[in-house]
């Protein structure tokens, strides 16, 4: 027997899905045809676009699922159970939102991890290193074997550290749900729209996340995850550099080393130039002192020489001389300087 309500929902979902796909297709379209423009990227598998829209699509999927299955509570239904269904599925926005940015940050790393792990397995070292720890190596390829084992061990450590971090993220999600229930249970609280419910859930989930993110456990897990990823990356870089050296190509370490020396030289140059100007300044100060001393000596010698004349003039009637331009300026030698 036909169920008009369910048929409507199904039809609507199909329509909505088509609309979403149409929207993304439209977003991907090139504007006006430009004969000099590179060919457009294929619509399918447009990784950047999918990543950009992941959060938005997560919300959209969640709204559809909620509308189709759960937004019409039957009288007397347990709203807590209904809430779990709304936010517990794979389309729940937390997975989309947090999973999106997390994978965006770690995606290239994950891809690298898979290829390196595969290469290590071919060599037969990855499993050994992971299960039994490093085994002694010997022969011509000893160094390569050791490095391969170290990389395999670092990869495993990184996977474990990331899992520990993800566990805390999942805990934040669970606690966010509990907080949401608490908020909804507050007296007088009523939610009458999907958007209203979503916004309330975001508040609850962010509060729970912030509490966990500020815990010592999270701090340790975060540091461990970053360090583990860096160890893997460092070992990968080392192996890449060895390949570059064999091919006669400059490596990043060499370029970086040159940069370090250049920066040190620039500092030395600036310091010596500043030092030279300080030396000049000292010399100028010393010369000024010498000139001042000489002036004082000259002034006292002049005073001695003019003393008899002064004594003689004191007997003559007093006459106030008018200052000349020369005497005015000589009275303030410092100002002239």
């Amino acid at each position: 027997m036909a169920d008009p309500a369910n048929d409507f929902i199904r039809d609507y979902q199909a329509l909505a899905q088509q609309s979403w796909e149409a929207w993304t297709r439209q977003f991907q379209q090139q504007p006006a045809a430009n004969p000099f423009a590179p060919p457009p990227a294929p619509a399918a598998g447009n990784d950047m676009l999918e990543r950009t829209l992941a959060g938005l699509k997560g919300y959209f999927d969640w709204m559809q699922a909620a509308a189709a299955g759960n937004a019409a509570p039957s009288p007397g239904a347990d709203w807590r159970q209904q809430l779990q269904q709304l936010f517990g599925g794979t389309s729940q926005p937390f997975v989309q939102a947090f999973g999106g940015i997390d994978s965006a940050g770690a995606e290239s790393f994950a891809r690298q991890w898979q290829s390196w792990m595969q290469a290590a397995r071919h060599g037969g070292f990855a499993d050994l290193a992971a299960t039994q720890g490093p085994t002694p190596a010997f022969g011509l390829s000893r160094e390569q074997q050791m490095e391969q084992q170290a990389l395999a061990a670092a990869l495993m450590a990184s996977v474990q550290a990331t899992a520990r971090y993800q566990e805390l993220i999942q805990r934040a999600n669970t606690q966010g749900m509990q907080r949401l229930q608490g908020k909804l249970a507050e007296p007088g609280r009523q939610v009458d729209s999907l958007k209203g419910l979503y916004d309330l859930w975001v508040d609850a989930a962010e509060e729970a996340y912030a509490e966990i993110a500020l815990s010592d456990e999270f701090r340790d897990a975060y540091g461990e995850m970053v360090d583990a990823q860096m160890r893997v990356r460092q070992l990968q870089q080392r192996q890449t550099e060895q390949v570059c050296q064999q091919l006669g190509m400059p490596t990043r370490s060499e370029v970086s080393s040159l940069g370090e020396r250049l920066q040190a030289l620039r500092r030395e140059f600036r310091a010596s130039r500043a030092g030279a100007s300080v030396d000049h300044a000292d010399e100028i100060v010393a010369l000024r002192r010498e000139v001042a001393t000489l002036k004082r000596q000259l002034a006292s010698a002049s005073a001695v020489a003019s003393a008899p004349k002064k004594a003689a003039s004191e007997k003559a009637p007093k006459k106030v001389p008018r200052p000349t331009a020369a005497s005015r300026s000589s009275a303030s030698p410092r100002k002239r300087k």
Binding site: W23, A72, S193, L197, Y209, G259
Partner: protein, 355 residues
């Protein structure tokens, strides 16, 4: 108990349909929009060195302030947050108040800048920028406005070169990096920074942005874009939104050595408030800052918690210390309409009384 969920199925369907309609209608606007420009307040280049540039904003009238103001921005993100859009430009507002404004644009570091240290930035670049402005105005000392990490740099600089700074303004500046609500500090406390920088070299901007997004993952990675759907049919609002997106994600890499030192000494060691910080072999003593200080912080700042900024009052040596709390967040303090009304006039008034 009565259910708090009162979502009418018909309304839910209608909401989804409305969401779809907004998306579809907004598509045209989104595709037609060009890359949003910043305010681009008229300016002249007065100094450049490596990738750094010092801009002098010319404005429309003559500055009434006797002492020029040099803005020292953070190394993370670009300096154009201070001149984001015509009606939300801190620089433009300061000019209108009568300030003579200069700005250091640090540029985009690349591999050649990998070995720049904090000494190179503070006693090198910053000192030479200050000298350029001092010489242009024939002054012994100028006013500094340090923003976020640039505020921490300005504090170090003022403590090390006190004769060259007349008044110091700090905005959303972290001083005490170990307040309990500082999430960034908390996360990097246990990581091996030496391993991190030795491996990464310069720190990619994308990685920095990723970390900032994870401070509030749901709000910043999803809820914000759901909100964008509501403004898709409003070209002006959409352009403003996209301009902010441009500023957020068009950000520079971090020079490796400077990053290493900043994380180790500031975030992990909290040496600025402990008095054990050394830049270029000299100890940075905040107690030696005797210039007037205006410290502005944002009450809802999730990057630099208010207490991290408030701590400055306990550590500077000046007797002329003013603190201003702004009702908003780390970004709103530059671009919100409240900020336009409150922040530049407050800075100008404070400086004018000390000009």
């Amino acid at each position: 108990m009565q259910t708090p969920l009162r979502i009418d199925p018909a309304k839910a369907i209608a909401d989804i349909a409305a969401f779809q309609r907004k998306l579809a209608a907004g598509m045209g606007h989104l595709r037609d929009l060009r890359e949003p420009e910043y305010a681009n307040t008229p300016r002249e280049l007065v100094y450049s060195e490596d990738k750094l540039k010092v801009w002098h904003f010319t404005g429309h009238g003559k500055a009434t302030a006797k002492t020029p103001l040099l803005i020292v921005y953070a190394l993370v993100n670009t300096v154009w947050m201070t001149d984001l859009q015509a009606d939300r430009s801190m620089v433009r507002n300061l000019l209108e108040q009568g300030e003579d404004v200069y700005l250091i644009d640090w540029g985009y570091p690349d591999g050649a800048d990998r070995w720049l240290t904090l000494d190179d930035y503070i006693n090198g670049y910053l000192d030479r920028c200050v000298d350029v402005v001092r010489e242009r105005h024939g002054l012994d000392a100028i006013n500094l406005l340090g923003i976020c990490q640039g505020g921490a740099f300005s504090l170090c600089y003022t403590a090390l070169h006190p004769d060259k700074v007349k008044n110091l303004v700090t905005m959303v500046t972290p001083v005490d990096f170990h307040t309990p609500d500082n999430m960034l500090s908390h996360w990097c406390r246990r990581m091996d920074v030496d391993l991190f920088v030795d491996t990464m070299g310069n720190i990619p901007a994308g990685l920095m942005n990723y970390v900032y997004l994870t401070l509030k993952p749901l709000r910043l990675n999803q809820q914000k874009y759901i909100g964008m759907v509501d403004i898709l049919d409003n070209p002006t609002e959409l352009e403003n939104f996209l301009r902010m997106e441009r500023w957020i994600f068009d950000s520079p890499d971090q020079a490796g050595e400077a990053f290493r030192q900043f994380i180790k000494d500031f975030y992990q060691g909290n040496k600025l408030v402990k008095g054990t910080l050394e830049i270029g072999g000299r100890t940075v003593d905040l107690g030696l800052i005797t210039q007037p200080v205006l410290n502005i912080f944002a009450e809802q700042d999730h990057l630099v918690p208010p207490d991290a900024s408030r701590a400055l009052g306990k550590h500077v040596g000046t007797t002329d210390y003013t603190q201003l709390a702004f009702k908003g967040g780390h970004i709103g303090i530059y671009v919100s309409s409240r900020a336009q009304r409150e922040v530049p006039p407050a800075i100008h008034q404070w400086l004018r009384q000390r000009d």
